[in-house]
């Protein structure tokens, strides 16, 4: 993939698809009226988030880029699961082992490598600071 032209919505609108593979041209009132579209059709595709990460990195926002790469992995994880991971990361919610198990699960079930690494790092920090 070559260098991405920002805004994608203006330069690459025809190439972008949602997570379900819908093109932007399909995301119309007509299709909505016809009952052809659901909420999942409006979730950003992980490749689009990676493209945005690339744009951010290029423009000198490395931490934002890392965040967007973690976000890309979360696009395929259901809402309720995402909420439960957030809950587990809050102080005193789970044990060290449970947090590590959660990291393993995300990596195994959803290929969320970056998030898994991030959660493992949190687990170490929480252990050190007594946040379990």
């Amino acid at each position: 993939m070559g260098k991405r032209r920002y805004p994608l919505g203006e330069y690459e609108r025809d190439k972008i698809v949602s997570q379900t593979g819908r093109s932007l041209e399909e995301l119309t009132l007509e299709n909505l009226r016809a009952g052809k579209l659901g909420p999942e059709d409006f979730i950003i595709h992980q490749e689009t988030l990676r493209a945005q990460a690339e744009i951010a990195e290029e423009a000198g926002f490395p931490q934002l880029a890392a965040n967007l790469r973690r976000a890309a992995e979360l696009t395929v994880i259901p809402h309720e699961k995402v909420l439960s991971v957030y809950e587990a990361l809050r102080p005193y919610r789970v044990t060290y082992e449970q947090l590590l198990a959660l990291a393993d699960e995300l990596e195994r079930e959803y290929g969320a490598v970056e998030n898994a690494r991030f959660i493992r790092e949190a687990a170490e920090a929480y252990k050190e600071r007594g946040l379990f």
Partner: protein, 746 residues
């Protein structure tokens, strides 16, 4: 105290003296900068890992130190950054020859203590210059608060629409009753898109609920991700840097923009300052924000603002925190939201710190509703101050994203928004919004003008909506089916934008065509005069177009329409003899101008003066002076022609002088320079006094009303009246005697 100064008694009543002020107490965090317990800047890196930061070795770090060292610091730049003297970096900040990018690069390697050490070198003016240069987005913008005490959906929608129309790029709501969240989010989403397509909206509630609202498509951004500068405060806030960072990713994964929130004073208020200064702790917050990958931050003390402002240097430090965020390449929504002072002077002076440089969002919540209805505990600036605000923008040729609007367009947009949310409620089977509620929402001042709703029923609806499967798509459908196709299309485009993710980039906003403006395609390129964002062209015309500004000609409406029928020219004026008074009038008198500035017809002016003179038993002649329009010279000219040496000089707008032949032209016997304060009775007394001077009597000066506001109110009219008088000046035409076809009845 036995003895009291009446002036001190008055001073004590001033609004400023209702604010709280306190001496510093570093141990409990009551200090804005330079606490004796603040760490000194330091950084030691071994084998690519930070082992000591700001004097603290790794093994003694808390979770915040660890997060900052591992995520926020650019270790490649750090050795260079930390060894560059802070004063040098401070100077680079105000040096127009040092590009923004070079500073961003260096700052990426600075620790919290180093960041503070840089800005502590700077005064407010230098910080403002630096903020103008370091702001992330080139085009400044603004955010509105839209709330009300009754959580009334029609009023929320109408207010959101008006805020959007007034130019706010983001609208934020919150709740008094937490369970209202989905309905409030929905109401401002719909209202905002009615007002202007592309306005971002959010609802500030508990994090998990907030995320659910985002998933449902009811919000398009979130900024409630609060971070704190000490571990204790962070944990009290029920989060960690990792949980907040995860939350940021979770929002982004659904295409929702986020920014973090921090601000001086929060740790001290929560009892977790650890004796550190407020700014040092804020620097830590900002590094956590940066490290977590948030594109931006809402800071500038925010809800704690009164705490730093109670301390010396508080306002300077609040500006410093905005500047630090911008230096870290973070979008800044720069406070000016919560009530900061009882004093309008003080709050406005504080505002100027962000207003003049411009920030990504000058207010992170301008209360677009009256203060009474602000549920953020806020309303530092509110709906009643829009006119002041727009005038200040016009005065300074500064754009903070707002512009003047007309009452008719506001009423129209409010009606459409109220009807749109009514349609949505109907479409979703929510408790109906009645016609009475719609009508009230259009014209309401605040929620006291709104009919009460069955809140229990609304809350039950909100619960069901949040828990259920329905999303923004159902809202769009409801709008589309009920004749709001254009609004439906805007909501749909907002939802489509989630699939693109363009507005996840730093400082992103949309214009009315859903064109995204962010750090990527609208980076701040300020490099000194003539560069960066300039308010000009069409936008400047819009900002200056306040409805209070009138066309100049309107100030002269009615003037010259009824020239005097009593006055006519006789011929060149001759020097008189005996005890007479000359009434010398300006060149436009009674003809091109026919009334004074406060509307006294010139005929009436003459009748009063002549009556006054006659009451003293003297006669008068009227002379029109053509060669000058200056009041003193008109009077002086008259005096030279007067048999008694005494003359009254009158400019057509009413400014009057009593002159005497032996005085220097700019001297006088009596001068009535505030023409708008002169009444018919004043002119009569002026006539009487002039006659007494002519008779050589002792004279009590004519009492006149002193109103120093008059000049302020009427200066434009004065200038335009004078201009018309000047148009009639003929330097070569001698004074001409006039006949006034009227006799005083004395």
């Amino acid at each position: 105290m036995a003895r009291r100064s009446k002036r001190f008694i008055e001073l004590a009543k001033r609004p400023i003296n209702r604010d709280s002020f306190v001496h510093e107490w570093p141990e409990v965090g009551l200090i804005v900068i330079d606490s004796p317990y603040d760490p000194k800047p330091s950084l030691r890196i071994e084998r690519g890992k930070v082992v000591e930061m700001d004097g603290i070795p790794r093994e003694k770090w808390d979770m915040i130190d660890r997060f900052i060292a591992d995520h926020a610091l650019n270790l490649e730049v750090a050795p260079e950054a930390m060894s560059t003297p802070s004063e040098t970096i401070a100077r680079m900040l105000v040096d127009i020859n040092v590009p923004r990018g070079e500073i961003v690069r260096l700052v990426s390697g600075c620790t919290a203590a180093k960041l503070v050490d840089i800005v502590r070198q700077m005064n407010v003016l230098e910080m403002m210059m630096a903020l103008g240069k370091m702001r992330v987005r080139r085009t400044p913008a603004n955010q509105a608060h839209v709330t009300n005490r009754k959580e009334h959906p029609a009023l929320l929608a109408a207010d959101a629409a008006e805020a959007a129309l007034r130019g706010f790029a983001e609208n934020e709501t919150t709740v008094g009753v937490a369970r209202y969240a989905p309905l409030n989010a929905l109401s401002i989403l719909v209202g905002s898109q009615v007002g202007r397509g592309g306005v971002l909206t959010q609802c500030a509630v508990e994090e998990a609920v907030n995320l659910r609202l985002g998933f449902k498509g009811l919000t398009t951004y979130a900024e409630t991700l609060s971070v704190y500068g000490t571990e204790g405060a962070f944990i009290d806030g029920d989060d960690t840097p990792w949980s907040k960072a995860f939350l940021a990713s979770a929002y982004a994964s659904r295409g929702v923009k986020i920014r973090f929130t921090s601000g001086t004073g929060s740790e001290a208020l929560m009892g977790h300052s650890e004796g550190r200064s407020m700014l040092y702790l804020e620097a830590r917050c900002l590094l956590v924000t940066k490290g977590a990958g948030s594109q931006g931050v809402q800071n500038g003390s925010i809800s704690c603002v009164a705490l730093p402002e109670s301390l010396p240097g508080g306002v300077r430090v609040i500006l410093a925190e905005n500047l630090l965020a911008a230096m870290l390449n973070l979008e800044v929504a720069s406070g000016n939201d919560a009530l900061a002072s009882h004093s309008d002077i003080r709050k406005t002076a504080k505002l100027m710190c962000q207003f003049i440089p411009g920030t990504d969002f000058v207010h992170s919540g301008y209360s677009s509703v009256p203060r009474y209805d602000n549920m953020f505990g806020g309303g530092c600036f509110d709906a009643t101050e829009f006119d002041d605000y727009n005038v200040i923008q016009r005065d300074m040729q500064i754009d903070t994203g707002l512009h003047p609007v007309r009452e008719e367009e506001v009423l129209a947009i409010r009606e459409k928004a109220a009807r749109a949310i009514q349609a949505v409620f109907e479409g979703l089977g929510f408790p109906p919004i009645t016609e009475e509620e719609v009508q009230a929402a259009i014209t309401a001042f605040d929620s006291r003008d709104m009919p009460d709703r069955d809140m229990a029923q609304d809350i039950a609806t909100a619960d069901e909506f949040l828990a259920g499967e329905r999303t923004v798509l159902d809202v769009i459908r409801a709008l589309d089916e009920r004749g709001f196709g254009d609004v439906a299309e805007r909501l749909l485009e907002m939802t489509r934008q989630r699939v693109l993710g363009d507005y996840l980039q730093p400082s992103a906003i949309f214009d009315e065509h859903f064109h995204v403006l962010s750090a990527i395609n609208d980076p701040n390129d300020y490099r000194g005069p003539g560069t960066g964002y300039r308010l000009e062209g069409e936008r400047w015309r819009r900002v200056q177009d306040i409805p209070q500004a009138l066309p100049p000609e309107s100030y002269l409406e009615g003037q010259g329409e009824h020239p005097s029928k009593l006055l006519s020219e006789i011929g060149p004026a001759k020097k008189g003899s005996g005890p007479e008074v000359i009434v010398a009038v300006g060149p436009a008198f009674g003809r091109e101008l026919d009334q004074t500035i406060n509307g006294i017809p010139h005929d009436e002016v003459l009748k009063q003066i002549l009556t006054g003179i006659a009451e003293e038993g003297l006669s008068a002649r009227i002379v029109k002076v053509y060669h000058t329009a200056d009041c003193a010279f008109i009077g002086y000219t008259g005096a030279q022609l007067s048999g008694s040496g005494v003359a009254i000089g009158i400019q057509s707008r009413g400014t009057t002088v009593i002159h005497r032949a032996d005085l220097a032209p700019l001297n006088n016997l009596e001068l009535f320079s505030q023409s708008p304060n002169l009444t018919p009775e004043s002119f009569r007394q002026i006539g009487r006094n002039a006659a007494r001077y002519a008779k050589g009597e002792k004279v009590q000066p004519v009492p006149v009303k002193v109103d120093n506001w008059v000049r302020l109110r009427l200066i434009v009219k004065t200038m335009l009246l004078h201009r018309r008088e000047l148009e009639q000046v003929d330097p070569d035409k001698p004074p001409t005697e006039l006949k006034f076809d009227w006799e005083p009845d004395v």
